[in-house]
C-alpha cells in the first residue's frame, strides 16, 4: 500500500476510534448514573435512556467520517491513487471530528450524568437536562462539519 493510502486509512481509523472512545466513556458515565436511579424508579427508563444515548452521537459522527474517507479513496470499490500529500490532508481533516468527539463525548457524559439527578428529583425538568447536555454536542457537530468540508475540498485521483 502506498504512503498516501496508509495515511488516509490512519485518518479514518483515528476518526472512528477517538470519537468512539469519547462516546463510550460518556455513555458509560450517564448509564451508570441512570442505573442508580433505575434501581428505585424503573419507570423513568425512557428519560434516562435519552440522556444516556446523547453522548453516543460522537461515535456515529466518527463512523460517518470513516465511511466518507473510504468512499473518497475508493476502498469500497476501485482503489484510487492517493499521493502522500493527499494522504496527510485526509489525516488532518479527520482530526476535528476525532478530537472534538473524544473530549465532547466524555464531557457530555458528565453533563448527562448530572442531568440524571434532575430526572430523579424533578422529572418535569427533564427537557432542561437534555438541553444542557446538547450544548456540549454543538462542538462535536462543528468538528464533524469541518471534517466533512475539508474532506470535500481534497481532490483525490
Amino acid at each position: 500500500m502506498e504512503l498516501g493510502m496508509i495515511l488516509a486509512v490512519f485518518g479514518a481509523a483515528l476518526a472512528v476510534a477517538l470519537a468512539g472512545i469519547g462516546s463510550s466513556i460518556g455513555i458509560g458515565y450517564a448509564a451508570q448514573a441512570s442505573n442508580g436511579v433505575m434501581t428505585e424508579e424503573p419507570e423513568k427508563f425512557t428519560s434516562l435512556l435519552i440522556l444516556s444515548v446523547l453522548p453516543g452521537t460522537q461515535g456515529m459522527y466518527g463512523f460517518v467520517v470513516a465511511f466518507f474517507v473510504m468512499l473518497k479513496v475508493g476502498l469500497l470499490g476501485t482503489t484510487l491513487a492517493v499521493t502522500p500529500a493527499q494522504g496527510w490532508q485526509i489525516l488532518g481533516a479527520c482530526l476535528p471530528v476525532g478530537l472534538a468527539g473524544l473530549f465532547s463525548g466524555i464531557h457530555q457524559g458528565k453533563v448527562s450524568a448530572s442531568g440524571v439527578a434532575i430526572v430523579a428529583k424533578q422529572p418535569q425538568e427533564f427537557v432542561k437536562a437534555v438541553i444542557f447536555s446538547a450544548l456540549v454536542e454543538t462542538y462535536a457537530v462543528l468538528g464533524l462539519l469541518i471534517t466533512i468540508l475539508l474532506l470535500m475540498g481534497i481532490q483525490v485521483g
Binding site: G28, A33, S34, V37, E41, A117, K121
Partner: protein, 341 residues
C-alpha cells in the same frame, strides 16, 4: 458557602450509580413539612399514614404499634445503612459511619459503669460490634473488642484512676472516634474526607474546650484531649481556656464557624448547653455536606444521606415520644427548634 473546593474535586466515576440511587432515596427523607404533618396528626392512624409515605410502612405493617417506635426507627435506620452498604461504592462509607455507634455504645457502657446506671436505654443496635462483647471486656471476661476500641478502654481506665468524671469518658471516646475516622479517611484516600474530618476535629475541640471549662478541670486534660489536624490551631484553643465566654465567641466569629458562634447570640456557650452545641455542629456538618447537591460523582451525597437519616430519626423520636405521651404540641415544637433553628 464556598463551592470552589468541591468544584475542584476529582471526578470519581465509582460513585455514579450510587449517587443516582441516592438522588431518588433523598426524596423520601422527611423534611420540615412532613414533620409538621406528623406533629399535627390527630390520630395514630394519621401518624402511621405520614410515616408510611416516607418508607416506614413496611415496619408498621407487620403488626407493630406506633408505641413501639424505638424498634421501628432503628429498623428503618438500619435499612438505610444497609442500602448504602449494598452499593459497591458505599460499603466503606457506610461501615465507617456505622462505627460511630460502636464508639457511642462503648461510651454509654463506660459512663453507666462509672455512674452505676443501667446502660440499656442509651445503647444502639446499629453498631458493628456486639454490645455483649464490649460488656465482657469491661467486666474482664474477655480481653479484646477491636484495636481502636481497646485503646479507648485502656486510656479511659488510666484517666479514671485520677479523675472520676463521666465528662472524661465523653472526651476520650470522642477523641478516639475522630482519630479513627481521620485514619480511615487517609487510608481510603478520599480527599473530601480529610476536609470533613478537619471540620469535625474543630467542632470536637470546641466541644472539648467547653466541657473542660465546665468541669473546671485542669489545663493538662485540655492539652491531652485536644485533637490535632483541625483548621483552628490548638494553641488558640488553649489560650481561650481561661478567657471569658465573649472572648471565645469573638474568636469563633473569626473562623468558618461564625454561624455556630452567632446561633442564638451564643447562648449555648453562656448556658453551657453542650447538647445544643452538638446539634449546631451536626447542622454545620450537614450544611457542609449540603454542597453535595452539586456533586454527581463523589462520596459526599452518600455521607450526606446517612447524616440526614440520622437527623430524621432524632427528630422523629422527639415527635413520637411527645405525641405518645400527650405532651402539648408547643412543647414538642420548642424541642424541635434545636434542629430547625
Amino acid at each position: 458557602m464556598a463551592y470552589s473546593s468541591l468544584i475542584k474535586m476529582k471526578w470519581d466515576s465509582r460513585y455514579l450509580s450510587a449517587v443516582g440511587n441516592i438522588r431518588v432515596l433523598e426524596k423520601r427523607i422527611m423534611g420540615r413539612p412532613a414533620m409538621v404533618r406528623l406533629l399535627e396528626a390527630r390520630s395514630e392512624d394519621e401518624m402511621c399514614r405520614v410515616l408510611g409515605d416516607y418508607g416506614y410502612g413496611e415496619f408498621l405493617d407487620d403488626g407493630s404499634s406506633i408505641h413501639d417506635f424505638e424498634s421501628i426507627l432503628s429498623a428503618h435506620l438500619r435499612r438505610s445503612y444497609e442500602l448504602i452498604e449494598k452499593m459497591s461504592a458505599g460499603r466503606l462509607i457506610a461501615r465507617i459511619s456505622r462505627r460511630r455507634y460502636d464508639f457511642h455504645n462503648l461510651k454509654a457502657l463506660l459512663k453507666a459503669d462509672l455512674l452505676g446506671e443501667d446502660p440499656e436505654p442509651s445503647l444502639s443496635t446499629l453498631g458493628e460490634i456486639p454490645v455483649s462483647r464490649m460488656k465482657d471486656v469491661l467486666s474482664g471476661k474477655a480481653k479484646e473488642i477491636s484495636p481502636e476500641l481497646d485503646v479507648v478502654v485502656r486510656d479511659v481506665k488510666a484517666y479514671l484512676e485520677n479523675e472520676s468524671s463521666p465528662q472524661v469518658v465523653d472526651l476520650l471516646v470522642d477523641k478516639a472516634y475522630i482519630d479513627y475516622i481521620s485514619k480511615m479517611g487517609s487510608e481510603i484516600g478520599i480527599q473530601f474526607f480529610d476536609r470533613l474530618v478537619s471540620k469535625q476535629v474543630d467542632l470536637t475541640n470546641i466541644k472539648t474546650l467547653m466541657r473542660i471549662r465546665k468541669m473546671e478541670s485542669n489545663r493538662k486534660l485540655l492539652v491531652d484531649a485536644l485533637l490535632p489536624g483541625g483548621e483552628i490551631d490548638n494553641a488558640v484553643l488553649l489560650r481561650l481556656y481561661d478567657r471569658s465566654n465573649e472572648d471565645i465567641l469573638s474568636a469563633l466569629r473569626r473562623t468558618s464557624y461564625a454561624s455556630i458562634a452567632n446561633a442564638g447570640g451564643g447562648e449555648w456557650l453562656h448556658k453551657g448547653d453542650i447538647s445544643k452545641l452538638e446539634h449546631l455542629s451536626d447542622n454545620f456538618i450537614l450544611g457542609y455536606l449540603g454542597q453535595a447537591r452539586i456533586v454527581t460523582s463523589g462520596p459526599e451525597p452518600l455521607l450526606s444521606y446517612l447524616m440526614q437519616k440520622d437527623k430524621e430519626i432524632k427528630i422523629l423520636r422527639i415527635i413520637l415520644v411527645g405525641k405518645i405521651n400527650s405532651i402539648p404540641l408547643d412543647l414538642i415544637r420548642e424541642r424541635l427548634t434545636v434542629f430547625y433553628g
